[in-house]
Amino acid sequence: MIRLVRSNVGIAAAGLLGLALLIGLPFALDTYSLLQATLYVVFSILALSLAFIWGYGGILCFGHSAFFGLGAYAYAVAVINIGESTLPVLIALTLPALLAAALGYFMFYARISDVYVGVITLTVTLILYNVVNSTAGPQYHIGEAMLGGFNGMPNVPSLNIPFEPDDTLDPEGMFVVCMAALLIVYLGLHAVLRTRFGRVLVAVRENEQRVEFLGYDARLHKLVAFSIGGALAGLAGCLFTAWGNFVSPTAFSVVQSAQIIIWLMVGGAGTLVGPVIGAIAISWLTVEIGTQQVVNANMVLGAVLLVFVLLVPKGVVPMATERLLPWLRSLRRPMQAIRAPQLGSETAPQVARGGKA
């Protein structure tokens, strides 16, 4: 019971903080910083989409940018043709979800092993990258939208108020929409993880065979989770394109995929707050390093990844909740021993083996 209240407190706090930022940041930041913040928020959604399928579903997707890129391009192509952003947003969610469902069907129903899931998703991203990269020239167009090959697609319209094509969002409006989307995704995923589907999904990550012995179809759970992850990555891609009014094949790049994985490793893949923190921290770091010439950004990122893999393999957030908090509590325990003797039993399970079971 205490555990339930406590985990809810964490989520509620994160939700309130998000709400405060949603309302406060547009007033507090200048336009440049707000644009930057919007990008971090979009990346946070992308991080959450992978956190859900990898951290909770145990599906190791090395090519998550396939869904991100597909969402980004789907939005660009659709909004240029339709001239209004409402339907394109839905398309940018649906297409990646369908790709994920199709891929997932063949991968999970064929019961191929985790390593090959990684290889296949990586390959799909590479294929999409190369296909889009080679669409330079006027003959490659979808409707009115020129695909532009490696040059990408410039002048993609921003989001607009639903069904009011002339009423496009200003940077403040765009930030509010992205932040609201992040909040909905964050709270929504928490809600999903509370349902039977969510709990069984985590069980699939732990032991797929046992899940099947208990009568659940593990393949179906993975398929649905993978599709949700694909849709959310597509949403991030769509917001990314609308944010920069531009999309290029780098959205599909392996570097992009790797970056998402780094966010998760740094923040902690088995949580939802961690990937958001990781996405923001690493993106911020990348921008900061980019403003100077002394060290190469990729080298720093590589070093950061190495340090985390070796020293903090579970990521910052699990490290803080599983190690740091119990340690801090143990410092205070002598004083609190009488009032709260069981504090910390949740995060650091102490196996009580008093006598014979």
Partner: protein, 240 residues
């Protein structure tokens, strides 16, 4: 004649040139507690895998209460009410004991009934002291019981236990034997076990496997007194 709970006909499975199970005709009645014995590689575990759908037979059929389950998927067979405890405990190591049991109970229950079923198993298996600990942190014997709890939470019509007492202390074995007899009041069981004293404690009828086929079937005294059984199995164990 009543329909048997499990009935296999000419069940065979080969892996390459190796006949793991061959022409097994096996019948189990409702309410029975059957022990399977046989030397390593006799096909007992493969036989379990054939019944639970983890492995598909090369030929032959498996019927559960008259329904042909030969070609069903593992989770579909589980839904019919066949629960299995595997040789190496198959549990959710990262989840707490309660969360483990919750997953099992939520398959066919809703709302408060899930929590009630979970608490009932926690109590029955004396898991209370570590019900909120991650299962991965428990001792081997305790994990075996958690797995048994998972199986029982599913309220199965048939329970398969593959070496339920392996790696347990003498005390734990004692308790597991009691538990099995208690469980058998409501559920039919098939138990694979190597420990002969354990078999003697719980067994009524025994089926002996040897090189993929059924060597003989009979009650405890018959089987232990049989010279062929002694040769293939008991003798070997005594020699080792």
């Amino acid at each position: 004649m009543t329909t048997p709970l499990i009935e296999t006909r000419a069940l065979s499975r080969h892996f390459g040139g190796v006949q793991a199970v061959r022409n097994v005709d096996f019948t189990l009645a409702e309410g029975e507690l059957r022990c399977l014995i046989g030397p390593n590689g006799a096909g007992k575990s493969t036989f379990f895998k054939l019944i639970t759908g983890q492995v598909k037979p090369s030929s032959g059929t498996v019927k559960f209460r008259g329904i042909d389950i030969t070609t069903l998927q593992a989770h579909q067979i589980a839904r019919l009410g066949i629960g299995i405890k595997t040789q190496v405990p198959s549990v959710f190591d990262g989840l707490s004991v309660r969360d483990n049991l919750w997953i099992a109970a939520a398959r066919h229950k809703k709302g408060k009934a899930i929590a009630r079923a979970v608490e009932a198993q926690v109590e029955r298996l004396l898991l209370g002291a570590f019900a909120d600990s991650a299962v991965g942190q428990l001792a081997h014997g305790q994990r075996q019981w958690v797995e048994l709890g998972l199986v029982l939470c599913g309220e199965p019509n048939l329970i398969l236990l593959d070496e339920p007492a392996a790696g347990m202390t003498e005390e734990e074995r004692e308790r597991t034997a009691e538990l099995i007899q208690d469980v058998n009041r409501d559920h039919p069981l098939i138990v694979v076990e190597h420990d002969m004293s354990f078999i003697r404690r719980i067994a009524r009828r025994i089926t002996v496997f040897d090189r993929g086929a059924i060597l003989m079937e009979g009650d405890v005294e018959e089987v232990f007194g049989n010279q062929a059984v002694r040769d293939v199995y008991l003798g070997k164990q005594a020699a080792a």
